[in-house]
Symmetry: C2
Subunit: 374 residues, 2 copies
């Protein structure tokens, strides 16, 4: 088992602690999992639900699944998605049957993307991008929502078991569009259990936790269907380069997407908010305030795989021996290498996808979903 290092503050920022408390999450403990990945080791993964169930599957080599989705309404993907894939890959390497769903029904209804266009975007970009980020297509089953009526069937069932008050308590609304999306997500989350009931883990952003909660409520209410409640795993947001909580397309100056033009990325990193002091003299004397440094966060979350190397940079920078400009140089260099590698891998993955190297699941009309009341 790898050593558990977290030199960058094992305590969670207040915002995240509040989330863990309010939503009733488990605080993540990397010792639970064998060979934790860098996001786990570094506290970027900060919480989850029912994680021991998944750890046990890994240790005892029992069947389980991991699942995430593609919303094919954009042209690029977010660095947050890169972390989701990194975690998905961890579970895939540790025995999970992996599922990637393309939320084309949702994209069509909510964003006006025609199904055919959604399919093309998924095949031309999103799936190759996920492969470029480490997903093993040979160990992955793919589906389009618009071709998977089993998902819809589970959603229908779920809708009958959820009350208006319960939905409002979780989502703060009874909007029909939100309800239809949410029950369909329940379908997506539980679909891999239709063939054989088994635990599953959904690595997601914390903003997706309501779907996890609703699904767990549904599972707990319909014990006769024998679904396992889904486990989940949450990563911190990648902060905006200007210091905001969350990198977002709506503030492009603080945001790096995939793919990204190297020059744009370098320019944005150079303007990022750092934890450097006002003068070199002061910086040398006091050292950097690492907790406020967006560039170090970028290195930690995305650009440096080796813990020892990150530790060295951390120590140098914190001690004031490394300046913010030097840290940015490292980050720009690593980002350039990462973006170039991503482009190369993306091109290769596109060829693979074009050759038909994906496994799609088909509508099975699996039995055992209806609870007979007769």
């Amino acid at each position: 088992m790898a050593s558990i290092i977290d030199p960058w503050g094992s305590s969670l920022p207040e915002d995240y602690e509040k989330i863990v408390r309010e939503f009733g999450l488990e605080t993540f403990d990397a010792r639970l999992f064998p060979e934790p990945n860098k996001l786990m080791r570094r506290g970027v993964v900060f919480a989850g639900r029912d994680l021991k169930r998944i750890a046990d599957c890994i240790k005892e080599k029992k069947p389980f699944y991991a699942l995430t989705g593609i919303m094919p309404s954009n042209d690029r993907i977010h660095l947050g998605t890169k972390m989701i894939i990194e975690n998905l890959r961890y579970f895939q390497e540790h025995g999970a049957q992996t599922y990637i769903l393309v939320a084309d029904l949702e994209a069509a209804a909510a964003r006006g993307v025609a199904l055919e266009e959604a399919r093309q975007r998924a095949l031309d970009f999103f799936i190759p991008a996920y492969i470029a980020l480490g997903l093993d297509p040979k160990k992955t089953l793919f589906y389009f929502q618009s071709e998977n009526m089993d998902v819809i069937r589970i959603g229908f069932q779920a809708s009958k078991k959820i009350t208006a008050n319960e939905f409002r308590a979780i989502y703060g609304t009874n909007d029909p569009g939100r309800i239809v999306s949410a029950v369909t997500q329940i379908g997506d989350i539980l679909y891999p259990q239709l063939g054989e009931r088994q635990p599953g883990i959904i690595p997601v952003g914390i903003d997706q936790d309501p779907h996890i909660r609703l699904t767990r409520d549904f599972v707990n209410r319909t014990r006769r269907l024998r679904f396992f409640p889904p486990s989940s795993l949450y990563v911190r947001y990648t902060p905006s380069l200007d210091g905001g909580l969350k990198m977002s397309k709506s503030k492009p100056e603080g945001c790096i997407m995939l793919p990204e033009d190297v020059k744009t990325a370098v320019k944005r990193i150079k303007r990022a908010k750092t934890g450097g002091r006002d003068t070199v003299e002061e910086h040398r004397r006091l050292g950097a305030i690492i907790e406020q440094d967006m560039v170090f966060e970028l290195l930690k979350q995305h650009l440096i795989d080796d813990d020892a190397e990150l530790q060295r940079i951390h120590d140098e920078y914190k001690a004031g021996r490394m300046l913010s400009g030097e840290l940015k140089e490292i980050a720009c260099e690593r980002m350039r290498a990462f973006l170039e590698l991503f482009d190369k891998r993306l091109a290769a993955a596109r060829v693979l996808v074009k050759k038909g190297g994906l496994n799609f699941v088909r509508y099975k009309k699996a039995a055992g979903l209806e609870e007979s009341k007769r």
Copy 2:
């Protein structure tokens, strides 16, 4: 054009007038349609929406459709359904492309009927029963909800255009199960327009009007999709034989289902509430109170096709020359003949269905449904 006779009171009972007013329906006028069927001529059809649009299609021989559904969760069908099919048949004979959908997703989710069981019930009983009641299978397209993702697609779209308040105003609830059912019904109602936009008519019970309203609201709100708002046609309830507003399985003594054991039906008719007077002498002198006679209503709605014959019975009975017992004899005899004919036709229709004599529609992924916002 047939003469428009309505000797049994052209004014609607108060309950129905209230419905017409409150829901903003059109009062039905049989003169609108060529060769109106007996339900139209006799005021059993009492209201509708956008009927001129359909009448124009008939007169100008323009394409339109008629649609109804099967809820395959019961073993028998209701006399109300018999009237729906009679109206459906009218439109079919006047040029409508007819659709019959099997609501197996809904039956599975709401009533715990497994999809395979729902399919068997539809093929073994409901579809043959509809054919036995006059549906022409050669002019009908059938589908199972669980095989028609286009329906789901429209439902998804619709869910995004409907607010929680609007839904509550129509249905009195924001229950997720109701919402999912309702948007799926919007999908069913508009599905025939996916290939080519055209008017359509849905003959339904008045209790189904909320779905019509919601669908019309959705259509009017998404003009770019160019759907025609659905027209609808409403029949009165078949009253319970004991005088209640509505025949219902929950009060079996007042109810005749299809199929029905002849002896049971005869026994129930013999116990029915009539408009006969307390004594023969009084009956001869004052005549029957036809408006309160459940047996006459049964003849009018279901058992006598010929207007002249019904008129003769009406006049005799109203004048007191015919006694309630004699009326019941007529009704029992007609019911026996009808039930025996139904059984015979049902058997023949089953053979037809088993031979594969139905046309099923398949998932088309029709274009033109997404409203691009890009």
